[in-house]
Symmetry: C2
Subunit: 231 residues, 2 copies
DNA sequence: CGCGGCTTTGATGTTCATCAAGTAAAGTGG
DNA sequence: CCACTTTACTTGATGAACATCAAAGCCGCG
């Protein structure tokens, strides 16, 4: 089945101001005709690890996870990407194959540009190169820093950290719907499903959060913040 | 005390073929006059976390560690960089301050280029931009992959992995001198000093390695490889 | 309506960090 | 160059944190 194509003019896209602003009028029009927009349903695979890189993707709307199967045959989630993230930046310039799989965890709109065209833009337009370098550094740095922070915490601290992340960085709300299953949360912050659930129950009993299935409401924000800081 | 300056013509540098090859004759001559070479002794700090970024460093010779203090106040080594690595690439295009400290773990020759000049090269020369993007992707990818692999192993597997890394990737020899103390090895692969020592003793007793102070010789390579694979 | 995946709780065992204490090695100052 | 201090290395004992195993309820979906 053909994917639903999403069609719009890049002029209306918030991305323009972020990176593509340095493009000339001509380049911008070319970009417009070289891009494709697609909508992926929750759970749908966008990129499979090992696929040949010939397009460059960015996330316009929705939420996706980057993941990879470890040597122990268990899936690990490396990162959650939000709108405006360049989700395939991590492989594009280095490898001919994607290093990670990418899957939608909410309905997501993905725009893609042919890699050759992107490279041409980089070669032709110096300001644009700098923008891409900055954006790429930022993405990579965030991933490294986040992994670093998570690994420095024990389980309770990791749950606190990730809940604050959802609340503050993604949903900007004390109450939000978890886009991940308990198992996926474990995959994201390196712990077993059982322990995710156990700590959730503990937090519920201690009146730090209210749980209604996938909906989480943070009640004692201070406690979570303290826990996230100290580990 | 002024640092020893190391002076040579970039024409003779192996780097040229790697990245700077795409520069024009003029740009290359400018590079030559904009670069400085310095020699750092073992243990000497090259960059301190938080310092302002205004130079771009690459490692011509030697071995350095990238490290950072975690929330638990313990030092963690993020990466070991080898000759030809662009050791400050990770912060240059994103932040105005370095994210990590960098310290020489062997006598190291570091070449540096003023950041403004590097940015000018990127803007002016499209092919060079692509080289930098590729090199940067590679560095970041390696770090993420290595951290991923290490965290998927238990202690014995981590030691096996890191010894194979020293033996195969750095020293190309079954016998090598460890550039890190036992504590630093722990900082690199996330374990306590005591457990590093314990597992070293265990490997010695099981005739997998011979230890003479800092010198390690791998005897049972197959065992180490198997251990490194399975965890 | 039955099957598989997700969730939950409890019991058990393993892995690893922490604590303690001692030896060896490497700087440091008189 | 020697006494002194500090840092690195080593081993053992203990306990905490966490994974694993087991069992059962729940829900959605074909």
């Amino acid at each position: 089945m053909e994917k639903i194509k999403f069609d719009t003019n890049c002029k209306d896209c918030e991305f323009r101001s972020m990176v593509f602003d340095s493009l000339t009028e001509d380049e911008f029009n070319l970009l417009n005709s070289n891009k494709t927009g697609k909508i992926f349903a929750k759970g749908e695979t966008i990129i499979e690890e090992g696929e040949i890189v010939n397009e460059f993707f960015y996330l316009k709307k929705g939420l996706v996870k980057l993941h990879k199967i470890g040597t122990n045959n268990k899936t690990h989630i490396i990162n959650i990407a939000q709108p405006n993230d360049f989700i395939s930046l991590l492989s594009v310039f280095y490898k001919s194959e994607y290093e990670f799989s990418i899957t939608a965890i909410e309905e997501s709109t993905i725009c893609s540009i042919k890699l050759d065209f992107l490279k041409k833009l980089v070669i032709d337009n110096g300001e644009f190169s700098i923008s891409i370098l900055e954006k790429m550094s930022e993405s990579y740095n965030n991933i490294i820093k986040t992994r670093f922070v998570i690994n420095n915490k024990q389980l309770r601290g990791r749950i606190a950290y990730i809940f604050l992340y959802f609340s503050e960085s993604i949903y900007k709300n004390n109450r939000f719907e978890l886009p991940l299953s308990r198992r996926e949360i474990g995959e994201l912050i390196n712990m077993t499903t059982e322990n995710v659930i156990r700590i959730l129950s503990e937090f519920r009993k201690d009146k730090i959060i209210i749980i209604e299935g996938k909906t989480i409401e943070i009640i004692n924000m201070d406690f979570l913040k303290k826990l996230s800081r100290t580990g």
